[in-house]
Structure formats: C-alpha cells, structure tokens
C-alpha cells in the first residue's frame, strides 16, 4: 500500500462532479426521464394483511379504453418454495412473491396485479376494475404475537424445530463458554429492549422507466442501488436473458439500503413487453411507506457480566428481528456487530428471523447493527453506572484492538476503535458543562463493511484529460472521491478527471452500492487501472527518449527521466503523450475487474447531549459529536456528510420515528406528516471527528464509512436521557408520551442481579 502523504487532491474538499447538475435541477432522477410513446403503470395492492387469493379477474380492466396491458402473478417467473435460489443475500423464492403476491397476500399493500395505460388516471381506474376474490385470514404483526403457539402461520412450508412456524431462521455466534463466563462475573446487568419498525426515509420514491422492444431488448432506467442487481432480478423474474437487458442507474434520491432490491422494474418490464410501449412507474409516498421494506422492529435481551474492576467477562444477546412477510431480517448485523467493539472472552449471540404480516424488510444502513448496538450500549451504560466507572473508561478497558478475536469470526487487524474512544474522551464536548434537565450519553458501534466485485474503466482522452467509468450508483459522493484519487495518482488537476457511472452494458460487473463498500472497492480498481495507464505512459515516453521504461518516472502529470543518469529530457505531459497516442500504439486506457478484498470493519464513538422538557416529555438533542475511524478521508466533506446523515437518522429512530398500525393491521402513518423524521429545526449542528487509521490493505487506506454512523446513535440518545432524568428507557422511540410516562410513572427499572 502506498499512502499518498503529500496530498494535492486526496483529503481536499473538491466540488463533486455531479454537483452542477444537482444544484440546477438538471440531474436526471428516474422519474425525470421520459421516452417517446411512454405509458404509465400502476399497481393494485391487497387491502388485507393476510388473505388467500382465490381468483383475479382482470377482464374489466383490460376492456377499459386506454389500458394497454395487465400483469398478474402468472406472468412472473415462479421460484418453487422448496428450492433456494440466491442472488447475493436475496432469495428469489421470496423476491418473486414480494414483487407480486402468488398464493397469498401477505401484508396490506402487497401487489396483486399491475396495469399500464395511456394516462396515470386511466391506469388507476383500471386497477379499481380488477376483481380479486380474497379469503381473509387471521394475521399478526408484532413479534410476540407472531411467535405465539397459536399464531397464524404465514408460510406453512417453513418449519422451525420441526413445526410450521413464523420463525424463519436462527443465527448463532459463539466464543468461549458463556456459562463459565457468567460464573466469573461479579456484576451482571440483563435487560430487554424493543424497537419499532422504521423506514429508510429516502425522499425520492421508487421509480423506473422500462422499454422492451419486440426482440426482447430491454432498457431500464431506475432509481436503484445496483444496476446489475436490477438486471439480474428482472432477468430472473421475467425470463428475459440478462444479456438482453440494459439497466441504467439514474441519479438516486436516497436509498440507505432500501433500494438494494427491486419492486417496480419487473412489473414495468412485463407491462412494457405486453403493451409494446415504454412504461413508467413511480410510487406514491403512501406506496413507499406501505409496500416497500422498512427495517425490522425488534425485541432484544442482552446480558453482560463484568468483574468489579470493569473487565467484561461474558456477554449474551438474543435478538428477535421482524422479517416482515417473507424471510430475511438482518439478524446477521445484530448478532455479529453488537459485541464487536469489545474484547470479551465468552460471548453467545443469537438471532431469530420472525415473519409477520407487514411488508418485507429491506436493508437499512448497517442492517441489524443499530438494533443490537442500542441494546448492548445501553446495558454497558448501566454496567458502568453499577461499577461506578466512566462509560468511556469502561469501553477503553475492554476495547477490541489488533489481535482481538471478534465473536463473529475474524481476528482484527490494525483497527481504530481505541482511537475513537480517546478522541471522544479528549474532546471538549465530553467535559462541557450541562444545565438543568440536560444530560450526556455515549455509545459506540461497529459495522462489518465490505469489499466485493467492482469494475472500472479509465480512458485518456485525445486532448489529454481522463474519463473514469465506475460501476456503482453514487449515494455518498463516491464520484468526487474517485476523482480525487485519480487526479492524485496522475498528478493532474482534479477538474481534468470526469467520473461517470456506467450501466450494465457499458461497465463490467459491479456489486451493489451498500455495505459501505463503494469507495473501497472502486478505488482499488480505479487505482489499478490508473497504474496500468501510468505504465503505458512511461513506456511511451521511454520510447520517445529511447531509454529504458524503468528509467522513467511519472510525476506531476508528466513523464520525467527518473534520474540525471537517464538523460536530459524535457518532461512529456499527459496531454502531449495523448496527442501522440495514435502513432504510438493507440488509445491509452485500462480496465480492471476484481472481486476486491481487504475491507476492514469500522468503529464509531458518539457523544450526545439532550435537554428534556420534563412537563411535556419532549427530548431535544442539543449537541452531538460523532467520532469515527474513517480509514482515510479521501473527500472529508462527504465523509462528514455520511456521518451527519447517519446521526440524523438515528436521532429520528431514537425519538419519533415508528410505524403505527391501526386495529385492522394497516399502517396508520404512511406519510411524512405522521412518520416523523427529523426536520431542520429539530437538530443542532452535528460535529464530526474523523480519526484516520488507514486500512493497510487498501492503496489509499480507505475504510467504508457510510453505515457505522447510524449504529451508536439510539443508545447515545437513550444514555443521555438517562443522564438528564435518572430514568432508563427500554423501548424506542422515546417519544413525548413515553418519556412523560416514565418521568411521572412508577420506577420501571427491570430487576438487576
């Protein structure tokens, strides 16, 4: 690894390449695109939480003037329930049932048919004319209801411990011997926590525009976190071969994990194929809230034991996470991440995937980890209190470091967790005075991060500038960071580097934007491509000078003799060599495709101050400092942006965001009015401290940064409220009626040993 230290561009707050388009309204998001002859698609959705679909009669809809196509489950490729077909972490058996109900409607909002017509209004009217015969079944939503012995079973082909069950899976991670561990503990805290489902809250609803030619050549523009995923899922679900599908990623208006699967694209593709017209489908906000995947609600029990000197000897967690209507809750994150900041000899971490009649969950920023960390970091706060230790000291005493074996498997290499604790402890925020009804809390968190497949193509233009094509939708500012890296490597002005995101036809396979992997992975392939170009440039200069390529160095955007011995030659700039390219061997460019490796996990430690209006139960966050080991901040502005965005989402999750269900099992707050995300006036400035402990396995030292910021937040807020009020909270959100009840009600503290 070569860490570039004399940075001209790396570490600079350059202007993002997609910025001018975004501030002028030019940037093309999926709903902004149009095609000649375009018609509109709409989805008919189940009103019932759970119902057998006995028949669907679409004849009246098909007869409505203006209707060009109708699609139902029989048009979608079936994946039989007895054979798992995996695409990444998604099982196509569930995907085919999620995009459209097959045997059963499993949640209110579950698609049962789709229509394309010449106007949105006609398509909507046609949906109303589709007659569906439902056999309404009993339903359950909450975890406790779904795992009762007599709970209505969603899928009787799924068995747990030999019986049909709504528990779709179990995951266990172990280290040492938990029973022995607790025997050594002198202080033990065990608590149970619940959280409500929350939505990623992207402001841009799902949208796509699909054109299918008579020969099956399909073009998809969509808002997604992975054009290759869109292509693959659409191919699987429609039967059109991948090679006939070109999936183009539009600018994406927020995803946070919620757009790592498809909802509309397969439906629009089938409608486009049947009608022979391009079909545009855009979700309403209500559809987004009802029928896309929020994250799990949860019930977690965490027990941590320590010796009186603060050494943690044993930790146990049991995490029940809602999957929604089909299997796949993020128990991996809850089980694997929650104890990872700590060096604990005995750990048992178990997760259960629980089905119930709500929409299938989708990934949400460090999926599962914020839920687990909320529980663990709150228990640690109680443990620190019982031990009369400063909460950061308790964490420092038990901090994971290089050589620590994480319960989920790997031995940590050089990591930066301790640095985040020390930076937090030294920060003026930690010792700033607090006023009446104000309190301060801390929490830490970990996320795996990821590497995975990435492709890049770097080409030098005839006029001596550079075009970089990468393969991942840019949600966090990765284009800016790639431009920084490429400019740095070539030693040219940042503005001479253009960074584009290719589509499935124009760039090699690149895995999803998610897992905090985009910059990590794309920087590797861009670096390798650029290194190849530099080799070519050196060879061509060497040829011109008639010297050995080994005697040429590339510096400040030009080839130079490597030493005075090599000869006296004027430098040859990139522009000069580009101009000579046609006569010197042709175009200068290189592409690299890799399954990148070497991603290391990320750690954060947060400090949160709150103020409580004790008569109304309103909690306001008045100061927040997030410390994170970011590896290397290639573009500090956008690293800060990731941190601040995650913190804001966590504050919403902690205080006011929740899915509210009515007595009929339907979402009662499917809009931004009553699904209460933080608004501008709710938040203070969000201070970031970026600790750089470079990843030794990455050419620029990059670590993923995007997901860690959400992980510690809810516990930091809860611990701050405790510091203000002397009361603990074991459920989220800590909304005003909940807080007021705890302030005024009897002590709700659970039994401590």
């Amino acid at each position: 690894m070569n860490i570039v230290t004399n940075n001209k561009w790396i570490g600079q707050r350059t202007i993002r390449p997609d910025g001018a388009d975004k501030v002028t309204g030019r940037a093309a998001f999926a709903a902004d695109t149009n095609m000649s002859g375009m018609i509109w698609g709409k989805v008919l959705r189940s009103p019932h939480p759970h119902a057998r679909i006995k028949s669907i009669d679409t004849s009246k809809a098909e007869a409505l003037p203006g209707v060009k196509a109708v699609v139902s489950a029989r048009d979608i490729v079936d994946f039989p329930v007895d054979k798992s077909v995996m695409l990444g972490i998604q099982d196509m058996r569930w995907m085919c049932r999620n995009v459209m109900a097959r045997e059963k409607a499993l949640f209110p909002g579950h698609p049962v048919a789709a229509v394309a017509a010449t106007t949105e209004a006609i398509a909507a009217k046609a949906c109303e004319l589709i007659e569906v015969e439902y056999e309404v079944l009993p339903w359950s939503i909450e975890i406790d209801d779904a795992i009762k012995p007599d709970a209505p079973i969603l899928h009787d082909f799924l068995k747990f411990e030999g019986k049909p069950s709504n528990i779709a899976g179990k995951l266990e991670v172990k280290k040492g011997d938990i029973e022995q561990g607790f025997k050594q503990a002198e202080v033990v805290v065990e608590r149970t926590f619940t959280t409500r489902p929350v939505h990623q809250g992207y402001i841009e609803p799902h949208a796509c525009l699909v054109s299918v030619a008579p020969d099956n050549k399909t073009t998809i523009w969509s808002s997604s976190q992975g054009q290759f995923m869109v292509r693959a899922m659409t191919a699987y679900l429609t039967g059109i071969p991948q090679s006939d599908i070109r999936a183009i990623p539009a600018e994406i208006g927020g995803g946070f994990g919620g757009k790592t699967i498809v909802y509309l694209e397969p439906l629009a593709t089938l409608l486009a194929k049947k009608s022979g017209r391009p079909v545009k489908m855009v979700m309403t906000r209500e559809e987004v809230m009802r029928a896309t995947g929020p994250t799990s609600g949860s019930k977690s029990t965490v027990k941590i034991g320590a010796r009186k000197d603060g050494t943690i000897v044993a930790a146990q967690g049991t995490f029940y996470l809602q999957a929604g209507a089909l299997p796949g809750s993020p128990i991996r994150g809850a089980v694997g991440c929650s104890f990872s900041p700590y060096d604990i000899p005995h750990v048992l971490s178990v997760g259960f995937d629980v089905l119930s009649n709500r929409s299938k969950v989708a990934a949400y920023r460090a999926p599962g980890a914020p839920i687990g960390a909320y529980a663990v970091e709150c228990v640690l706060d109680e443990l620190a209190e019982a031990l009369k230790m400063d909460p950061l000291e308790l964490r420092l005493k038990n901090a994971a470091k290089q050589g620590t074996k994480a319960a989920f498997g790997p031995v940590f290499p050089r990591i930066g967790y301790i640095e985040t604790l020390e930076a937090a402890k030294a920060h003026p925020h930690y010792t700033a005075p607090l006023g009446k009804w104000q309190g301060r809390g801390v929490a830490s968190g970990f996320w795996f991060n990821a590497g995975g497949e990435s492709s890049a193509q770097v080409n030098v233009t005839e006029d001596g500038n550079v075009v970089v094509t990468t393969g991942h939708p840019d949600v966090g500012g990765s284009r800016a960071a790639i431009a920084n890296i490429c400019a740095e490597l070539l030693g040219i002005d940042y503005k001479r580097v253009s960074v584009l995101i290719g589509d499935t036809a124009t760039i090699g396979f690149s895995n999803l934007t998610g897992g905090s992997r985009v910059l990590f992975a794309s920087a590797i392939v861009v670096t390798q491509s650029t290194d190849k170009i530099i080799s070519t440039l050196k060879e061509r200069a060497a040829k011109i000078w008639d010297i050995d390529p080994e005697a040429v160095k590339w510096e400040n955007g030009a080839a130079h003799p490597a030493s005075p011995n090599a000869g006296q030659f004027e430098p040859l700039t990139l522009a000069e060599l580009a101009a000579k390219a046609p006569t010197m061997g042709g175009p200068i460019g290189a592409g690299v495709q890799l399954n990148t490796e070497g991603a290391e996990g990320g750690f954060g430690t947060h400090i949160c101050d709150v103020e409580v209006d004790t008569e109304l139960g309103i909690v306001r966050v008045i100061r927040y400092t997030a410390v994170q080991d970011v590896g290397r901040a290639i573009h500090p502005g956008y690293v800060e942006g990731q941190i601040q965005g995650g913190v804001a989402q966590g504050i919403g999750w902690a205080l006011n965001e929740e899915y509210i269900y009515n007595k009929s099992g339907k979402v009662d707050n499917p809009g931004f009015l009553d699904y209460r995300m933080p608004v501008c006036s709710d938040l203070p400035m969000l201070d970031c401290v970026m600790v750089e402990v470079p990843n030794p396995k990455h050419p620029q030292g990059v670590k993923g940064v995007g997901e860690v910021p959400l992980v510690p937040v809810m516990a930091a807020v809860a611990n701050a409220i405790h510091n203000a009020l002397g009361k603990r909270f074991y459920s989220l959100p800590m909304s005003p009626p909940v807080v007021l009840e705890v302030i005024e009600g009897p002590e709700t503290r659970q039994a401590a040993e």
Partner: protein, 287 residues
Amino acid sequence: MTELRYLAPTTLDEAIKAFAAAGSAGRILAGGTDLLVQMRSGAVKPGVIVDIKKIAEMTAIAKTADGGFRIGAAVPGAVLAEHPNFGKVWPGVLEAINLIGSTQVQGRASAGGNLCNGSPAGDSVPALVAAGAIVTLQGPNGRREMAVENVPAGPGRTNLLPGEILVSFSLPPRPPGSSDAYLRMIPRTEMDIAVVGVGVSLTIKDGVCTAARVGLGAVAPTVLLVEAAATALVGSKLDDAALNAAAAACSAACRPIDDKRGTIIYRTKVAGVLLKRTTLIAAKRAK
C-alpha cells in the same frame, strides 16, 4: 373520473351562486393546503372547485370602524405576518396561523381554510376562539355572523349552511393592557399536527387580570372555549393558584381520543401544562 370544473369568480355573489349550485360536489379553494391533499388521497372528490382568491373582501386585511380588525378568510398566514400592525395587536392569533405547516404552507394556508377544514387540531382555531373572533358568513340566504367557536361541528364538519362561504373574521378592538398567545404541543419542532393547542387572550389592569378567554384545541371533536379556565384567571394576579386552577379546568374540559398523534392521558396532562405557559406569555406581552 370526475369531470372537475374550476371556477375563479371575482365577486362574492358569483362565488355563492356557483358554490350553492354545486351542492355537495362543491369545494372552496383558498390556499388549497388541505383540499389538494384530500383530493390526492382520494378522501375528497369534488365536482366543482370555487377559487375565492380573486374576491377582494376575502383577501383583504382592514381596520374596522371600532378599531378592530377584519381579516379576509383567504388571507395566507405569510401575508398576515407582513401586516405592519396586526401582529402587534394580536401576536397570539398571528403566531397560531403561522404555525400551520411549513413556510411553504404558510405562503398559501389561510385561517378561513383552517377553520372550515374542521380539524379538531387546526392551529388557528384556539387562538381565534380566545380572541373572541366573529366570523362573517354569506350564502344564498344572505349574510350573517357567528362566534368562531360555534363554527366547528365535529371532525371535518362545520355549522355553515349549504352554499355558505366564510367571508372574513372580525376581531374586536383591544383595551389597553391586552395581549394573547398560542402554544401547541408537537413532538418535533415543526411540521406536526398539534397534539394539544391552547390560545389565551387576556387583559391586565394594575397587575390583575380583568378579562380572559381560553381556547383549547385537539382535545375534543371540536375546539373548546374553556370558560372555567377563564373564570379561574379573571380577578387573579395570575399567581400559581390561579394558574393551577385554570390548568385543571382545561384538563377537565378535555374529551380527547387515543390516536397516532397522542393519547388521552397525555393530552389531558399537556392541556394543563400548556395553559399555564400560554397564559404567562400572554401576560408578559400584555405589559
């Protein structure tokens, strides 16, 4: 698909004729911040929309002969906020109207629309009730007046007769030593529907409260004029005993529901808390 007709008459008579003729299919459009949302969600499917923003009387702000104010029902909150005097005389009414929604919503939303939408939680209503506002209505049978607290009939309903349009609000002249205030409880800092809203208007002479009116919103099917709370304040120096009694009267007057915005227990408690805070603000302003 409903064949929707849009009309923008320039006189009140035209508007009433069209609105009355449309019967139950007619809807008045002022700022549209409720109507358009309801149309989009399918809750309302009007056949005729009568846009009243071109009618001078409905968009005017004027001083009345007796020194009070008359505000056209369609005046947007942002326009009212720019009036040089209104906010000095009725800061509570103004702040209530300007709490409806966001800055963008305030650019369009009007007190008339807020009142006629009939939401039990409409922010303008408790303050207008506390102010003793009188509404002027005009319909096929002519013009009449009504105390603002008598307008709401229940969630989503008013006591306007068929074909009647709310034309303006009249606020009485203020004796010296008077002011008002409005507070609401919302979980965030903005953008939420009031969980409880309290409007208090009072007059103080030589440190003693000589007149008071209390409006309480979001705790019953309609806004409440809490006379018992006013009685507890009048004649007092707004000391703790008086405030506690008034607060208790507000809590006692509550008939709220449990819904996605608040619980019965919570709303009942908060009504009392807000009464005290609102009263103290109004009192400070009255000095």
